[in-house]
């Protein structure tokens, strides 16, 4: 028998098989002569990437000591309880933020966070983001390959010649397709659990949707007739979307029998940040637990956000506070907001830590990236970035460590290293120079 490391991803399998409901485990899905653990066939690790704009007060973020049993820092202290699932990664930079087309830092920060690529001015093009690369591999057998969450409403006027897409999302399906982020918990709920009061009704509507989608696909050739080439490409993309939705419905139908304790649908959008983000985290934890999705991105705020967080003890607007003029007292005050944001994150980590999952907890089977693509927000530095990883990533992330990367290590190296932990092998990513071993 001829042995190669080639293997079929589930996605490839689905494409070929057409209508397949359950997802049989096939030998061919496992690369020859590799252990089951860590292959694309059975990754249960949930990936989360949470973005906070405007950087942090670094002298209160970075732990004073390196390595195992590091000395906890002021800003990260709300996470102390989970230190065994915590990996602080220091000294990273986002080089793509500088480069030839630099300037307009806030216009580009969100877009490059997970892409490691420079957003193109006067256009809509950056790079496929790490969450979407992961979703294409580990999200294809879940009803939603990924979910994109936000707290703030989108902005319509952005700046400096950069499209709003760069501000409004950190998730890009392809270099030119930004995924809109949803900030209404009600909409997120419906996306996760479907439209309809009862489970039965939701299932019935899904079936009807599927027959509608099927019928739309039947008329494709009529639609294409006489369309200019570029529009045909756009239509092709649309039909891919249709097929993707059909696939999700089939998966959801197959899963409908599974007992999911679905909560009441939330109504409207909460008024305060605190209530809002906790509700989003609640929904995400259920989505992770029931494997409605394994991949999530979330934006705490948009760049230039004037939001205030009075509970933090600092009542200034977020962006204004980040321009602290490098004055110590202002920087200390800004750190209050940073710490408050981390405490909201700790709420989510606590949910994961207390939710059983397989042979451990959800936290054991998660890898959650939290951080910013700015360092000192006052001068829009992109180095050294405030970055922390939570979760055991299915036993592949050791925890209780503070890693200090060598100077100027691209953030993309970490993103590549994270893909590695998810069993997604890639040679390079964004401006990476090689995977960072974590």
């Amino acid at each position: 028998m001829f042995i190669t490391k080639k293997h079929l991803s589930r996605r490839t399998f689905l494409r070929g098989a057409g209508v397949t409901l359950a997802l049989p485990f096939l030998e061919s899905m496992v690369p020859a002569q590799t252990a089951l653990k860590g292959t694309a066939a059975l990754p249960k690790t949930r990936l989360g990437c949470f973005y906070v704009p405007h950087g942090a007060t670094m002298y209160k973020w970075t732990p004073a000591t390196e390595g195992k049993n590091f000395e906890m820092s002021e800003i990260l202290s709300p996470l102390e309880k989970y230190r065994n699932h915590m990996t602080v990664v220091s000294n990273l930079r986002h080089q793509s933020a500088t480069g030839a087309d630099a300037g307009a830092e806030h216009a580009r920060s969100a877009a490059l966070f997970l892409s490691g690529a420079s957003p193109q001015k006067n256009g809509v093009r950056v790079g496929t983001t790490v969450d979407q690369i992961a979703a294409a591999e580990i999200g294809q057998d879940t009803p939603l390959p990924s979910i994109e969450l936000a707290i703030e409403d989108v902005s319509l006027s952005c700046g400096a010649g950069y499209g709003c897409a760069y501000f409004n999302t950190i998730s890009w399906k392809t270099p030119t397709v930004p995924l809109p982020m949803e900030n209404s918990p009600q909409v997120v709920f419906e996306k996760l659990f479907g439209d309809g009061g009862t489970a039965e009704q939701r299932l019935q509507r899904k079936r009807e949707d599927r027959s509608i989608l099927d019928s739309i696909r039947q008329q494709t050739s009529d639609l294409m007739r006489g369309l200019p080439a570029s529009d045909r490409t756009r239509m092709d993309g649309y039909l891919d979307d249709i097929r993707e939705i059909e696939r999700r419905i089939r998966t959801a139908e197959a899963q409908a029998g599974a007992n999911q304790d679905v909560p009441d649908a939330p109504v409207g959008t909460p008024e305060t940040f605190d209530v809002h983000i906790k509700l989003m985290f609640d929904l995400l934890a259920i989505a992770y637990k029931s494997e409605i999705t394994r991949v999530a991105t979330l934006m705490y705020a948009k760049d230039l956000s004037p939001s205030t967080y009075p509970e933090s003890g600092n009542r200034s607007g977020f962006h204004g506070a980040s321009h602290h003029a490098n004055a110590k007292s202002n920087m200390d005050n800004f750190a209050l907001i940073n710490k408050y944001h981390v405490s909201a994150f700790a709420y989510f980590i606590d949910k994961l830590a207390t939710t059983p999952d397989g042979d451990g907890t959800l936290l054991d089977h998660s890898m959650i990236l939290y951080g910013s693509s700015m360092s000192n927000g006052n001068q829009h530095d992109h180095e050294p970035l405030p970055i922390v990883l939570l979760g055991g990533a299915g036993g592949t992330l050791e925890g209780n460590r503070h890693l200090i990367a060598s100077q100027h290590t691209p953030m993309s190296n970490l993103l590549l290293g994270m893909l590695d932990k998810l069993g997604v092998r890639k040679e390079s990513f964004g401006d990476s120079t090689g995977p960072l071993t974590i």
Binding site: G103, D153, L156, G163, A165, V177, G197, A229, R234, A325
Partner: protein
């Protein structure tokens, strides 16, 4: 040797001779070249490439050979932005002639060989989708709740370039189709739903709110779509102080009132402290729930929820309350303030005890026939679906279109009644790409690169999405079907009709909302400590004012310059007080003459002054850059990378210690070299507006220092105050009209403008000029233009 000289001489002679016939024509170009050499090439040469631009190798006498570069030059010159401050310029006439000569050459070539561009396949954005649903099915849906927000480009959210698709997005369209068809048909199997209407936390409810009955205060006006006849539960929440207690709890004899379509259905006495209207009680005791269950008829109904106004007398408080009553919620429970309860949200749940589908405008619109027996059903279904599909697809429909719909009708009919069949087929129509996208096709036998006129049917959609942000109505569609729309007179008559139709409010709201950043207002929150009287009531008044000014230009067909120069504006009591206009009472808006010339036009309006300010101060840089980009079409370049922070004072306390006024800050970046180049253009423009503070109030001092609005415009003229800014805008009127024309053309064609569109945009501007720059002249010129009426067939792309 002699022979050599002879040959050289002969060559010279012959060369000269050969050149002779063209000498006369060359005089003008060579003067262009001289100007270019004198004023441009010392920076824009191959060696320096200042601003990434070199003009050295280009032939100024043939700008049509490289229009992409020259259009950049034109853009700068049109707004008077080059040469930079302090460098010599030719006199105004020479300057203008230089630019016009370049423009004329490019325009001549473009006229001979026009490139109308091609709008990519256009997805209806969510505003258009909601309008289309309203016009197709006579129901109001809130676009924000059914579809995700759209991306925008060039400040517009209706440009096909960025109206892409993704599974998540298309899923929402599919989901919307199910919900809307259920609502429109009045499905009686519907599950109870809950919809919450929130009052923004920063709305003051001490006074009357526009649209609510007189003699009331606070509250909210809701337009709600009730899916069927049945009972609905209305729940009211009062604003609470952060940790529980209700705001204004000590007020006595407060009453909450609710009415539907003007009929009072509820008048409830509110208990005073210590009763809290919160779930499960709290504090001192449990108050009766603030809710009522009522039978309501199906369809769109107007609901008023408000408080009865107890007194209009001034309260003699220990402490002076803010106009923005919720600026500090603690005032709601603290001794020394007299506050009254505020409404925070109304939740509508239902239906319960469903009575029937009811008699709604949408059912009347859908059921154009009613089958008397089962035998008539198929024919009636065909009739209903043909009529719906024709309007939804915006073109004549044939059997190929109807057959799949009938199949879905059958599917629904098999498990339900006739209505269920129609609902299922309607759901299929609304999910169809023919409804969601705007298809425009190229004739198949046309060569790549050739241009063609769009069909009448396609033109009808272009027109209705431009003027109404919606689908064509019956008249427009049938004229197009008859092939009459290409007739110029018919087209113009349709434009006039459509502009007069109330649906053209969409053009006013959507275009001014985006061009003038009015949509951005809701995201602006001035610092509450500095502007404690700023609340949402004022924010909304700002938006209304500018919308109404723009609306007056559209409705009264005025000169578009009135946007900058109008000596009238629209105010209600709140806004009038803010501007210091006396004797205006009540919440309704009325037209007034501005009290002082500084308030004329956009520059004197709160909306513009607020969106171009930072939360805690004015920002002359933002104001200057905003004007350059949005009114003069010449956006300043991006700031250079790694701008150092402002220098710190010796004590390490940062900038606050050494700089006081906004003007002083500005002087700082005009003193440093990397910043100076652009800031000496932007800042003087912004500084002329320094008499208006961050929320548009008139002032003469900033942090103790006297306001100084003096500065030098990039073209060398002296600036001092808003009047001088307006004068300078009028000097560059070409730049203003062309910028507006360019924006409006992008909005009209639904795609971003490119260099090759500029000749058409100049032609549009010229045509509007010949008709006094009236708004309709601009619209007519756009509708007649090549980019609006034609497409170029693009070559096949290789992937």
């Amino acid at each position: 040797m002699k022979r050599l000289i002879y040959i050289a001489g002969l060559t010279l002679f012959l060369t000269g001779f050969m050149l002779l016939p063209t000498l006369g024509r060359q005089r003008e170009p060579s003067s262009q070249q001289a100007l270019l050499t004198d004023y441009c090439l010392s920076c824009h040469n191959d060696r320096l490439k200042t601003g990434g631009l070199t003009l050295e190798q280009l032939d100024i006498d043939h700008p049509e050979a490289s229009p992409e570069v020259w259009e950049k030059v034109i853009r700068k010159l049109r707004a008077g932005m080059m040469p930079p401050t302090g460098l010599p310029r030719p006199d105004r006439t020479t300057y203008e002639t230089f630019r016009r000569t370049i423009e004329n050459a490019i325009d001549r070539t473009a006229r001979a060989n026009p490139n109308p561009g091609a709008t990519p396949l256009h997805r209806m954005n969510r505003t258009e989708y909601a309008n289309a649903i309203r016009d197709l099915l006579a129901i109001d849906v809130d676009p924000a709740t059914i579809l995700p927000p759209d991306d925008s480009l060039e400040g517009l959210d209706n440009l096909a370039d960025v109206l892409g698709t993704s599974p998540a997005l298309i899923e929402r369209y599919i989901g919307a189709a199910a919900k809307i068809s259920r609502l429109a048909v009045g499905n009686t199997g519907i599950q109870p739903l809950s919809v919450t209407y929130k009052v923004r936390g920063d709305v003051s409810q001490d006074e009357h709110i526009e649209g609510l009955p007189l003699g009331t205060r606070g509250g909210i006006v809701i337009r709600h779509n009730f899916p069927v006849d049945g009972e609905y539960l209305f729940k009211f929440s009062l604003l609470k102080v952060n940790f529980g207690p209700q705001y204004g709890q000590s007020a006595k004899n407060e009453q909450l009132e609710m009415s539907i379509n003007g009929v009072r259905l509820l008048l409830m006495d509110l208990r005073s402290a210590p009763y809290y209207y919160i779930r499960g009680g709290g504090g001192g005791g449990t108050a009766p729930a603030l809710e009522i269950r009522l039978p309501v008829k199906a369809g769109s109904q107007t609901i008023h929820v408000n408080f009865i106004k107890r007194t209009a007398a001034e309260v003699d408080d220990l402490l002076q309350p803010f106009d923005a009553t919720t600026a500090d919620l603690q005032t709601g429970v603290q001794y020394g303030y007299t506050t009254v309860p505020h409404l925070s949200s109304v939740e509508i749940l239902g239906p319960y005890n469903i009575g029937g589908p009811g008699n709604t405008p949408s059912r009347a619109r859908i059921f154009v026939c009613r089958p008397a027996s089962q035998r008539e059903e198929a024919a009636c279904a065909r009739k209903i679906l043909s009529s719906l599909a024709r309007r939804a697809y915006r073109r004549p429909v044939g059997d190929d279109d109807i057959a799949p719909l009938l199949a879905f009708y059958q599917k629904g009919r098999e498990t339900g009644d006739f209505d269920a069949g129609i609902e299922m087929a309607l759901r299929r129509i609304l999910a169809d790409p023919l409804f969601v996208f705007r298809f425009e096709r190229d004739p198949e036998n046309l060569a790549a690169g050739a241009t063609h006129r769009v069909t009448d049917i396609e033109l009808a959609s272009r027109l209705s999405f431009f003027l109404w942000s919606s689908i064509p109505d019956e008249e427009l569609l049938s004229i197009a079907e008859q092939g009459k729309l290409r007739n110029a007179a018919v087209l113009q008559q349709q434009v006039q009709r459509m502009l007069k139709d109330p649906k053209s409010q969409a053009l006013i709201t959507n275009f001014s909302g985006q061009w003038l950043f009015l949509r951005e207002l809701k995201n602006r929150q001035p610092d509450l400590l500095l502007f404690a009287d700023f609340d949402d009531n004022l924010r909304q008044a700002f938006q209304r004012e500018t919308e109404m000014l723009f609306g007056s230009i559209v409705r009264e067909d005025r000169n578009v310059f009135d946007l900058l120069t109008a000596d009238y504006t629209f105010v209600n009591e709140r806004l009038a007080k803010h501007y210091g206009i006396p004797n205006i009472y009540g919440t309704d808006f009325r037209r007034v003459t501005v009290p002082r010339p500084e308030r004329k036009g956009l520059f004197g309006q709160g909306s513009f002054l607020l969106v171009t300010s930072a939360a805690n101060r004015t920002s002359p840089v933002t104001r200057g850059a905003w004007i350059l980009e949005n009114l003069l079409g010449s956006p300043p370049p991006l700031p250079p990378p790694n701008v150092p922070p402002f220098p710190e004072a010796a004590n390490g306390q940062g900038i606050q210690k050494i700089v006081t006024s906004v003007r002083e800050r500005m002087e700082q970046h005009r003193a440093n070299q990397p910043c100076k180049g652009c800031h000496q253009i932007m800042d003087p423009i912004g500084l002329t507006l320094e008499n208006f503070d961050g929320i548009g109030r008139w002032r003469t001092e900033d942090l103790g220092s006297k306001i100084d609005t003096r500065g030098q415009h990039v073209d060398g003229t002296e600036l001092d105050g808003v009047e001088s800014l307006r004068a300078s805008m009028l000097r560059y009127s070409d730049a203003f009209v062309q910028t507006m024309a360019e924006k409006l053309t992008m909005y009209a064609t639904g795609r971003a403008a490119h260099y090759y569109d500029m000749p058409a945009i100049r032609a549009i501007t010229r045509e509007a000029a010949s008709d006094g720059y009236r708004f309709s002249a601009l619209v007519n010129a756009i509708v007649k233009s090549d980019p609006f009426q034609m497409r170029v067939k693009r070559a096949e792309e290789t992937h």
